[in-house]
Structure formats: structure tokens, C-alpha cells
Amino acid sequence: MIEVSGLTKRFGSVQALSDVSFKVERGQIVGFLGANGAGKTTTMDIMCGCIGADSGSAKIAGYDIMEQPLEAKKRLGYLPDIAPLHTEMRVADYITFAARLHKVPNSQLVKQVDETLDRLSLGDVRHRLVGNLSKGYRQRVALAQAIVHNPDVLVLDEPTEGLDPNQILHIRELIKSLAGQHTIILSSHILSEVQNTCDRIIIIHNGTVVQQGSVEELASQAQSGRVYRLRVARNVDQLLPVLGAIGQIVAPRLVDKVSGELEFGLVKGADEHVVDEVSKLVVNGGYGLRELALRAHSLEDVFFQLTH
């Protein structure tokens, strides 16, 4: 449904994107994850035909955004990072305007606008001025603008940015309810958000795609090299070389000498019985075992490893 290949973009001396490629299948929700300034918005702007790429192409529902922009844009709903709201318009008028621009036939105009307003629970504020709404409502109006014409592809740039936790939850539910009939790509720099809503994740860093796959794939990748945290009562620096001598343990490292904390990793595919050995060694050696735990693994680790 979305096919991006070899996008390159340079702003002056800054290389914003270099060879960004990915595909999104019909009906999927894909998370576009990256730190601030990683190139998320640039990619989305190019995908939606706001700015041009130096090289590469983006196809929406089979139509190239540069070659056949009208056909591609008919099938596209875009929520930019800065919501394109006309603050002097009333909510219903604004959504009607967006629908008209997206060639919704006159016969369906009223029905589709009403449905969209209901769907986003904007019925109560339909006669209010957009400029007088709170941030959460404004974001919903902006989302309504993107979905009013029932596009095949929805591109959402940081849809929950700047909202309070309740509103974030609400928008998230909304996005989930939109899945299936729409193909959605949403960007975020918050991992938990993407983890909760998306089927697949694309991680972008410094303008290149560093990793992509399903949430499970990326999580299991994090699991493969387990890291344990160990805290002992005394002689932590003597323990370090002893630990290193045990097979299947890699990179033992002192975290904090005063509190006696250290970390060690297991080689890929290592037997968990090694942990027994470690605890025996600590107890029998009189180091005084205080804590031995698996460091919580999440996508956070993958993200951290890939972007540092």
C-alpha cells in the first residue's frame, strides 16, 4: 500500500535522509520510530508530496506521489506535525472544507462529515471556532481532517504529541479502531506508544532506516543477548575477574563500586543454568549476594542500541 524506495534528501549541508526504503502492507499499522531530528517528518512530507526528494520514490496505493500526485493524494490522509488548522473556522465548516478539497461528492458530503465528527466525538463542538478549542480537541479536529474522505492510507506525524495521558489513550484507541480499513503509518519518538498501537516498527536514525520488523521480532532480538544485574555486599572488584572466567559469560562490567553493582551478559543461546553457577560462586566466595536480576528487556534496549 505504501512503497518507499531509496529516498534521499539534503537540506543545504545537512543530509536529512539517505536511502530510506520500506513497505507497508494493506491494513497494517506501522510505527515510524526515531529520535527528534532523525528524519521522520521529512520522510512523511516527501511521502505526502509536500516537499520533493533529491532521489528515490514514494508510492501511495500504487501511484507515485511525484508522477501522479492527484491520484495518490486522493487516497491519502495526512496529519502533519503542526496541525493545519484554520483557527477562524468553525469545526464542521473546516471538516467540510477538507472533505470538499478531497473530492468527496456533494451527495455524501453531509453524511461523511457527520460520521467523522461522531467518530471523533466532536459533535458537541461542531459549531465552535477551531481557535477556541483545547489542544486535545484541536488534535482530534486535525485527525478528522485526515480521515473525512476515507483514505486508503493515513499518515500521522506524532499524533499524540503534547496531549495529556487521557487524551493520548483516546487517540490511541481511535487509531486502533481505524486499522483494517486504513493503512496507517504513524511516527513517534515515544517507544511505548508505538509498541502499543503498531503491528510493525521501522526505526530511523540519522536519516537511515536502521531496523524494521514486527514488534515481536524486535523484542526477541533484544532477548537474545540477555544482560543480568548483580549486587554484592563486598569485594566487588575481586569478583569481576572470577566471573569472567565462567564460560558463556560476556563482558562483565562494574556499574558502581560503592553499592557493589555489576552487570554481565550471557552469550547468545546460553543455558540459563549459568546463572546458578554465578549465584553459587557469589555465595560460596563470601561476597554476600544482595540482588541478582534479569535486566528488564524491552524494545527500549533495541532502540537504545540502534541509535547510540
Binding site: 509536500c50 503542526i82 496541525a83 484554520h86 477538507a98 478539497l101
Partner: protein, 254 residues
């Protein structure tokens, strides 16, 4: 076509939803009313004095001409105020993204914006017609002269709007758009007088004088309609609308 009207209609409504629309009417008609009062006063004064001093009695056509010349000055001030926000405000607020990601072409956006500003000013012009028609009601000036003058002013206004839109499309700063548009329009107004100092009697002077809007407008004010002068304004407007289109389209591949 419907996309052009959708864009134009939104812009027209937005203008009148803010005090901006009222301000345009207020200043335009206020200026014009003041000038009208002044000119009429002078006119009556001169008519009364003429027999005493043996001068010529001024004609109503001269009064109308003075009024229309002033319209040109007022437009130089008003046009930049109308066009400055057209693109620069949308670009600054990023609302232009909505247009850019909609299935509409750059040409449709430009024509929509042009139509909106032209409609607003046509409405102001229509209101300003109260002054010439006042003269018509109480005197007997050449009626066709009023009509051709208004056509001339309307064409001039379209040309100025196209220029203003082009300037507005190149900046995100409304103030800069206002300043540069006003400077450009003012230059166009005085080019006729400046021309001789650049190249007196030469080809360059002729060219400059042709580019200036004043001589072409004079023809309309005399009650004449020529293909040459209509074509001048139409080409002027078309050229700058084309430039605006290029600027807007270039954002897609720049």
C-alpha cells in the same frame, strides 16, 4: 473547477470572519469619501469663480478623472494588505499542508486565491461606485466614461493582485510581503515619471513607459477601450499568476 471555488470561498469567508474584511472596506471607502468631498468642494468652488476670473469652467469628466486617479493610489495601499496573507500566512501556520496534500493542482490553488482576493476587491469597488453614480445622478457626465474607467480600474486591480500574490508566495513573513508588494506597485505607478531620467528619448524610456500602468489606465479614463490596453493588464496578471504557480509548484521538488 470546483476546487478553485472551494479554496476561494474559504478565503472569502476567512477575510470576513476577521476584522480584516471590515478594515479593508472602511479604509477604502473612507479614503475615497474624503477625496470625493474634497474634489467636489474644489469643483464647486472653481465653477463659481470661473466666470469672475475668466477661467475655464471645469467639466464633470475632469472631476471623475481626478477621482479615478486617486483610486489608483488607494489601490496601491490596499492591494498589499489584501494579498499579503494569501500565501505567507498559510505557509507560516502550516495550513498550506492541507492544500498541498489535497488532490488539487498548484494552478487550482493559485486561481482559487486569486479569485478570492479579486472577489473581495470587486465588492469594494462596487461599493465605491456610489460616488461616480452620485455625480451621475446630479449632473450629466459621460456615462460610458464611468463604465470604461471602472473596467480599467478592475483590470488594474487584477494585475496588482497577481503581483501581490506572487510576492506573498515567496515569503512566510506577512510584513515583508506587504512592504515589497507596496514598493513594487508604487514603482509601477511612478515608472512613467521616472522613465525619462533613466534614458531620455531612448528606446528604454519607451519600454519603461509601456511597462508602467498609468498610460494604459489613461486610455480607459478617456472613455476608450483598446485591445492594446486590455491585453496589457490581462498579460500582466497572467504573467504574475504564472510566476506564483511556478513558486508554488517548485516547493514540491525543491
Amino acid at each position: 473547477m470546483s476546487a478553485i471555488f472551494t479554496i476561494a470561498w474559504r478565503d472569502i469567508r476567512a477575510t470576513f470572519a476577521s476584522p480584516k474584511g471590515c478594515a479593508i472596506f472602511f479604509f477604502f471607502l473612507g479614503f475615497m469619501g474624503t477625496f470625493f468631498y474634497n474634489f467636489l468642494h474644489t469643483f464647486v468652488d472653481m465653477t463659481q469663480r470661473a466666470p469672475m476670473y475668466g477661467g475655464e469652467v471645469p467639466t464633470l469628466e475632469q472631476l471623475l478623472k481626478a477621482l479615478f486617479y486617486n483610486l489608483h493610489f488607494i489601490l496601491v495601499l490596499i492591494i498589499p494588505a489584501v494579498t499579503m496573507s494569501s500565501f505567507s500566512e498559510e505557509r507560516r501556520n502550516q495550513t498550506i499542508r492541507l492544500l498541498q496534500t489535497s488532490p488539487v493542482t498548484a494552478t487550482q490553488i493559485v486561481l482559487g486565491k486569486f479569485l478570492a482576493t479579486a472577489a473581495i476587491l470587486a465588492l469594494v469597488l462596487a461599493c465605491s461606485a456610489v460616488y461616480p453614480f452620485f455625480i451621475k445622478a446630479f449632473g450629466n457626465p459621460d456615462g460610458s466614461l464611468i463604465l470604461t474607467s471602472y473596467l480599467g480600474i478592475f483590470l488594474l486591480m487584477c494585475a496588482q493582485l497577481a503581483f501581490g500574490l506572487w510576492v506573498s508566495s515567496m515569503t512566510t513573513n506577512q510584513f515583508m510581503a506587504f512592504l515589497f508588494t507596496m514598493f513594487g506597485l508604487f514603482l509601477l505607478l511612478i515608472l512613467n515619471w521616472l522613465a525619462p531620467s533613466f534614458n531620455s528619448g531612448g528606446v528604454f524610456e519607451t519600454v519603461l513607459k509601456y511597462i508602467a500602468s498609468t498610460d494604459h489606465l489613461d486610455v480607459f479614463f478617456k472613455g476608450m477601450l483598446t485591445v492594446n490596453d486590455v491585453a496589457y493588464f490581462v498579460c500582466f496578471a497572467a504573467l504574475f499568476l504564472f510566476f506564483t504557480n511556478v513558486v508554488l509548484d517548485s516547493q514540491r521538488w525543491r
